[in-house]
Symmetry: C2
Subunit: 429 residues, 2 copies
């Protein structure tokens, strides 16, 4: 029988053996305490002379931060706090020593912590953020799986560059040149024609030489695509999805969000419907506070912040100028020059977390767009086939996982939202 | 209101509008049939003169394989078959034409089908295999999530080569040289020390210049790692896991396995306990049929087939010679020269689907192994830290998704188990 700290409520009054790591230890008069962690939770193990073996008290003196131990004792309800348990320790063994553990409770610089990321993840806030990430990934998959979507993962090795090669990692694939995927979308358009409602969810890569708090070189993105959806269906889906993610995090990650000191009142209002602004409306808002902004341009992070600050929940901006959007986005025949897509800006200035829209489904127009964007038609032979054989209206979007984790956790930088971040200038450990 | 073929049972007697693709169409006397697919299923749409619009009959003559259409009609129970529905069609519109669709019901060569993979996935067997893949991925995640594991995905960009660089894809990461991950295991050992029970599940890469039916260049692998598990706990976990995957596929993918003509009697016996052979026992079996085999060597595919043919369910082979296994595998102090790991061979000659075991947790021995394997100590600085600060017994394994899909579907080649396979000599579409 293996016992875990997270299960202690089921073992009150029983003697259990726990294995884990020493988060903290201290003496107070005749009592000694070990704060033990095992990945499922933390528990105070209380050593009283007379209640525990004499040898345990000697071994206690050799404990240090993060040494691994085996502690045997009886499970008790905490005398004061509801739903808190403690161990009346009887015995203590050291499994693995830990001499001069580098991360102490004192403040460390970010570079130092990132260099020791393999150890930093053992601290309370980092574990909490990783648990929220886990819950969000599960929520993302449950959302789509529960609505009849089929997961059809896109390849990482891609032969052509769908939006130019500037931000692409090039790699040798035996004797060929290939790229690491920066989006699975084009492939999802193909699988949507087979399976109707599909999504992919995997790592994607952007070789951006920028050090911002919102960019990772390697990040996870979920990309649903739905046959016969238009751009408005697509916004409906995105908004239902984001509401689900936030409300489920509030329901299932209360303890983690408490550890992260998240202000929950900022997340509670994230419910449908989200406001929807035409690009022109958003530009009017931006110009009032940033007169330098040029109508027709894409938004920068400060522009997004101006718009999102006006609302207590995420806000859609739709109908961006077609010229600033990708070649595959459908131009609105009723609103020429503007694309049938939308970005979703998270609240509190966390910026864009979703981009998507309706895809160009007309073969001739798509041909023309590919040429206008200076792309090579032969790179898109298979993609054009989707318009040659039973073309269909379809829409989809991509949600960046790490930005969403950062927003929900209230973390100022995406580097703490993934176990081992890859940033410009950071590739270890 | 959007209607899907998969939901028709809830709409008997109602008029519905369906959008999808023409799988087949034929006339028989006064009746015309369209076999329509929309990703959720297939349905026969029956056109009777008098019952449908006259124009629908004219449009019917223009239908071709894979053109996209809108069909309106009334949902009826099939006159003969239980749980089958049909559409009494009233109207028909063509959305997108499909002239000379390249994949006809006649036989095509594999190269041709692979070149047209973006269209090939629309055929019944391919869709069925992709749906089984979807269900298996969900089953894998549900298994671990339901047992208290935390998903901690490993990075794809890895700075060091954990088992030599022979089969690694090298790539430029700005000014550095990095590799594409071939396993997340080392990182899982770090997260296991934080979160106890962890797993990663993402794409991995092996630059193998081999064209076999069991190798993909890019494949998905799930890798659980459990703090304080030994090699026997690890086999217990693997066997519970594989039983779960197979029995859940049988329960949830009956229709897909029927389309794939899978012999279910080969999957039904896959229940715990699985046989467990010491390497020496397995070698004795192999030598009877393959006298060329040299005791001490790793197994080839034919050797695995000899062993697995003896059992009606997967079989573990444990305690391989330490010399043929990776540096991080713990050598058994009670059985010197042999490693505390095991491979799991799938039944029916499908070969190894799991490899794993107990990791070396002693700092000095691990140091020595790294040198013996000609690896550079500085590449493993962070990995050695896990033995420096609270070292702990731990074990884990990796299961290859595509081999498992191939086995469960009874597919002879892994290329049909992933939407867009990457093989030696195949990187398109």
């Amino acid at each position: 029988m293996r016992y875990y700290i997270g299960d202690l409520k089921n073992h009150v009054g029983q003697i259990v053996e726990l294995k884990g790591w020493v988060y903290n230890s201290r003496s107070s008069g005749k009592v000694k305490f070990v704060e033990l962690r095992d990945g499922t939770g933390m528990v105070s193990c209380v050593f009283f002379r007379g209640e525990c073996k004499e040898s345990a008290l000697e071994i206690f003196e050799k404990l240090s931060q993060e040494c691994s131990v085996k502690i045997t004792g009886i499970v008790r309800k905490h005398p004061k706090h509801e739903n808190v348990y403690e161990i009346g320790a009887q015995n203590l063994e050291i499994i693995g020593a830990s001499v001069d553990y580098p991360i102490s409770p004192k403040e460390h610089g970010v570079d130092f912590l990132m260099e020791n990321r393999h150890l930093w993840i053992r601290s309370k806030k980092q574990m909490a953020a990783l648990r929220v990430r886990h819950e969000l990934i599960k929520a993302i998959r449950d959302f789509f799986d529960g609505r009849g979507f089929t997961l059809t993962d896109a390849p990482i090795f891609t032969p052509s560059a769908c939006e130019g090669t500037t931000n692409l990692f090039e790699t040798k694939y035996f004797d060929e040149k290939m790229y690491l995927s920066q989006s699975g979308q084009l492939y999802m358009e193909a699988t949507a024609a087979a399976l109707g409602k599909v999504y992919c969810f995997g790592p994607t890569f952007r070789a951006e030489k920028s050090k911002t708090r919102r960019h990772l070189i390697e990040f996870w993105m979920v990309e649903p695509e739905v046959a016969f959806n238009d751009m408005y269906d697509n916004m409906d889906l995105a908004e239902e999805f984001v509401e689900y993610l936030v409300q489920r995090s509030l329901a299932n990650c209360a303890e983690e969000l408490r550890v992260l000191e998240r202000d929950l009142s900022k997340l509670q209002p994230v419910k449908r419907p989200f406001p929807r602004l035409h690009y022109r409306e958003a530009v009017d808002m931006i110009l009032k506070e940033n007169p330098q902004f040029k109508a027709g341009d894409d938004f920068g992070a400060p522009d997004e912040a101006i718009v999102s600050a006006k609302f207590d929940r995420p806000v859609f901006v739709h109908h961006f100028p077609a010229a600033v959007k990708a070649f595959y986005m459908k131009e609105d025949p009723k609103d020429p020059g503007y694309a049938m897509g939308s970005d979703l800006l998270a609240s509190e200035g966390f910026g864009e977390i979703i981009g998507g829209g309706q895809r160009e489904d007309n073969l001739e127009i798509l041909h023309k767009k590919i040429h206008e964007h200076g792309l090579k038609e032969e790179d898109f032979k298979w993609y054009l086939d989707l318009r040659r054989y039973g073309t269909f209206q379809h829409s989809g979007f991509g949600l960046g996982l790490e930005r969403t984790v950062a927003w929900i956790c209230g973390l100022p930088h995406v580097r703490e939202t993934i176990p081992f971040p890859r940033l410009y200038g950071r590739s270890y450990p």
